[in-house]
């Protein structure tokens, strides 16, 4: 056993080293190799770390997990985290291997791991988490999972099997809030009132019907998709009161300010990013903080210096114009990205759609995205469609009513990025699915530096 784990770690570390040399990120390969050498690697390594937090759900995993890692580090704790978003069992194992000594020793205080919804049951059994954060459930990469209902029910039964786990649950998502019924201690977080009350965007509401009794929910208001103040007229299941709740939220171009009540005390949180959905991620972190014994003020201080991960509304500057890169992977998230590009300045938009395994091989979900909202937006000068399914993306835009003269198809990502950077607008928005994200990021860095010598902003926060 001792020999096998050492062999597995050595093999994993060699794989990591080689992968870096050949230009990879080494975020999963070490895990693949190590698990091949010794299937018990993850369990053996995880056992040495006293506290493990798993973050699962559809959207917000990477941001929530990275925010939480930043918070714990700012408190002086030594953490292991899969920050790059490699969230299958291989990616989680790789994070442990990178942190482990050559003899398999770990001296870390906590492991913070984002875990893919479908991989959650397997990873949770091996890692035995102390705290589990569940963000939300939207339709995502269904060809790997079968329908959403099944994914949710597997996670539910897994939570019932892990002893002594504490939960942090999104109160505004009925599919998540129902987990309060699994019999584990829980903390709810959510948006307090009609902060963003608006009409339903029906095409992407995943859960219009009560998961407990099947009746259609009545909503007082929505935040986005099925998130909001739901109530079931059949069995009475309703949005529960939250322990961590944002009362007011306002956003500027670069920051989001919110006033959050944590139990009985109010805390001001300033996030250096403009995506509204990041409020939910910050609330999840504050909720986890309650279980981990970290004061809300400490968390708020750490969140104010949060640097977005690759493709989470990352900002660049090219020839003096702002360039944003955002990951898109499902209708709910894509609609939020479209909201972001709705500002009145003229701009050029790039969309890279890939259909590799990690993106989801079925790209039909783009027909559930509300591109029809773009028809009214005359300020978008050009759409550059790129990636393995560039032609299909172009087709979707055509049927959404975008004039075909504004749509250009550049399947090669490099030529697509170059084309959009030379657009006539005063800003550029790049949206990319998972496997297109890193190629886009890489090219963007090169051209933004080469052509105009503009440094990538090292971090968004420039509190003035």
């Amino acid at each position: 056993m001792r020999i096998r784990i050492i062999a597995a770690i050595a093999a994993g570390k060699v794989a990591h080293y080689l992968s870096r040399i050949f230009g990879g990120r080494g975020s999963s390969l070490p895990g693949v190799v190590a698990l091949r050498v010794f299937p018990g690697t993850l369990e053996a390594l995880a056992r040495q770390v006293p506290c493990a937090v798993l973050v699962t759900g559809t959207n917000g995993k990477t941001t929530t997990n990275n925010m939480l890692a930043g918070v714990l580090e700012s408190c002086g704790r030594r953490v292991i985290a899969n920050r790059e978003g490699a969230n299958l069992i291989t990616g989680v194992t790789a994070a442990f291997i990178r942190a482990a000594g050559i003899r398999g020793g770990l001296k870390h205080d906590a492991a913070l791991l984002e875990v893919d919804e479908a991989a959650f049951p397997q990873v949770a059994e091996l890692v035995k988490p102390t705290v589990v954060v569940v963000t939300n459930f939207f339709r995502d990469q269904l060809d790997r999972y079968g329908e959403l209902d099944k994914t949710v029910s597997y996670i539910k039964t897994t939570l019932q099997r892990i002893p002594a786990v504490k939960l942090v649950l999104n109160a505004d998502d009925p599919l998540v809030a129902q987990f309060a019924g699994v019999g584990r201690p829980f903390i709810f977080y959510g948006l307090g009132n009609r902060i963003r009350g608006k009409e339903a965007q029906t095409p992407t509401r995943e859960a219009r019907f009560c998961p407990l009794c099947g009746k259609e929910f009545i909503y007082a208001y929505y935040h986005y998709s099925q998130l909001g103040a739901f109530r079931c007229p059949g069995c009475g299941f309703a949005r529960p009161p939250a322990d961590v709740e944002a009362n007011t939220v306002f956003t500027t171009d670069h920051t989001t300010h919110c006033s959050v009540r944590v139990k009985e005390t109010l805390t001001q949180v300033i996030l250096p990013t403009s995506g509204f959905y990041n409020v939910f991620n910050a609330l999840a972190v504050l909720g986890a903080g309650l279980w981990l014994g970290i004061a809300p003020e400490k968390i708020a201080a750490s969140l104010s210096t949060y640097v977005p991960a690759v493709g989470r509304l990352q900002k660049f500057v090219y020839k003096g114009r702002p360039v944003y890169l955002n990951l898109v992977k499902n209708p709910a998230g894509f609609n939020e990205s479209l909201n972001l590009i709705g500002s009145p300045q003229p701009k050029d938009v790039f969309i890279a759609l890939n259909d590799n395994d990690a993106d989801g091989r079925d790209i039909s979900w783009i027909w559930d995205v509300d591109f029809e909202s773009l028809e009214r937006q005359k300020q978008i000068l050009c759409f550059v469609c790129s990636g393995r399914r560039a032609e299909e993306m172009a087709l979707r835009l055509k049927y959404a009513g975008v004039p075909t003269g504004k749509i250009e198809v550049h399947p090669a990502i490099k030529s697509g990025v170059r084309r959009v950077l030379e657009g006539m607008g005063s800003g550029v928005y790049l949206l990319a699915t998972y496997t297109a994200l890193w190629p886009v990021d890489k090219i963007l860095r090169r051209y933004a530096m080469e052509v105009n010598n503009a440094d990538r902003l090292s971090s968004l926060p420039r509190p003035s």
Binding site: R139, D143, T202, R361, D362, S364, W365, E392, L395
Partner: protein, 241 residues
């Protein structure tokens, strides 16, 4: 005025299938053919006789059960309309629903509407992936492509398949058939969605719907460069073109 009837858009809304409605409607409007969409939800009344194009998508198991119960009360009306030549597109779960039954892995038979002669048997392996088929309509053989994702395996009785599998699984991964065709009813496992990039099929459905109303007008061609490109990329990738 053509009336498009979208059945249970709230429930049968998996995998972007509403793209089929978008495609049908847009291709009418681009040609100046007046068209309206009626969404029918659970418990609402439907007049099948007024419909020109009926779309039935797929949903998750739970939702599928809800709507089967709701539709069962209108089976006779739907069957009459189908005999009368109503143009129907039924995808995946909506396809299975029109047959005799769905037999689950433990042998339970969930009855379908029994309008068309086929049955579906749950398989242990989910049939997932890109798919290319060859189908014949109006005397021409054409190719179409999409994405299939089903664990049910459908076996046809006395009814024609929609097409022949070129790449992928089709109805059951064994007999090489994909979908089913009866009169103006088109059943298929193809998501993608089916109609936007397979615009030749969309136009055929549109022509059938107009003809049924005695409207023999010439349907002018559209610039289908985007559609053809999207289709060609996938057919090439699957090595069938």
């Amino acid at each position: 005025m053509l009336t498009v009837c979208h059945l249970y858009p709230d429930l049968l809304n998996l995998y972007g299938d509403r793209g089929n409605i978008i495609a049908f409607v847009k291709r009418c409007r681009w040609r100046g053919i007046p068209v309206q969409v009626e969404e029918i939800n659970l418990g609402e009344s439907i007049d099948f006789a007024r419909a020109d194009f009926l779309f039935l998508g797929g949903g998750s198991d739970r939702e599928q059960e809800l709507i089967t119960a709701d539709l069962r009360t209108r089976t006779a009306d739907l069957a009459d309309a189908i005999e009368d030549g109503l143009v129907v597109l039924a995808i995946c779960g909506g396809y299975q629903l029109l047959g005799h039954y769905y037999r689950t892995l433990d042998g339970t038979e969930i009855p379908g509407l029994g309008i068309l002669d086929f049955y579906t048997q749950a398989g242990s392996k989910r049939l997932i992936g890109n798919i290319a088929i060859e189908l014949e309509f109006g005397g021409h053989k054409v190719q179409a492509c999409g994405f299939e994702n089903h664990s049910g395996q459908t076996f046809l009785g006395n009814i024609k398949p929609l097409g022949r599998v070129l790449k992928g699984y089709g109805n059951n991964g064994r007999d090489g058939f994909e979908g089913a065709r009866y009169k103006n009813v088109f059943c298929s496992y193809l998501h993608g969605p089916l109609l936007p990039k397979n615009s030749h099929l969309t136009d055929y459905l549109l022509r059938l719907a107009l003809n049924r109303r005695g409207d023999k007008r010439f349907i002018k061609g559209l610039d289908d460069t985007f559609e053809k490109n999207a289709r060609r990329v996938m057919l090439r990738r699957m090595g069938v073109k």
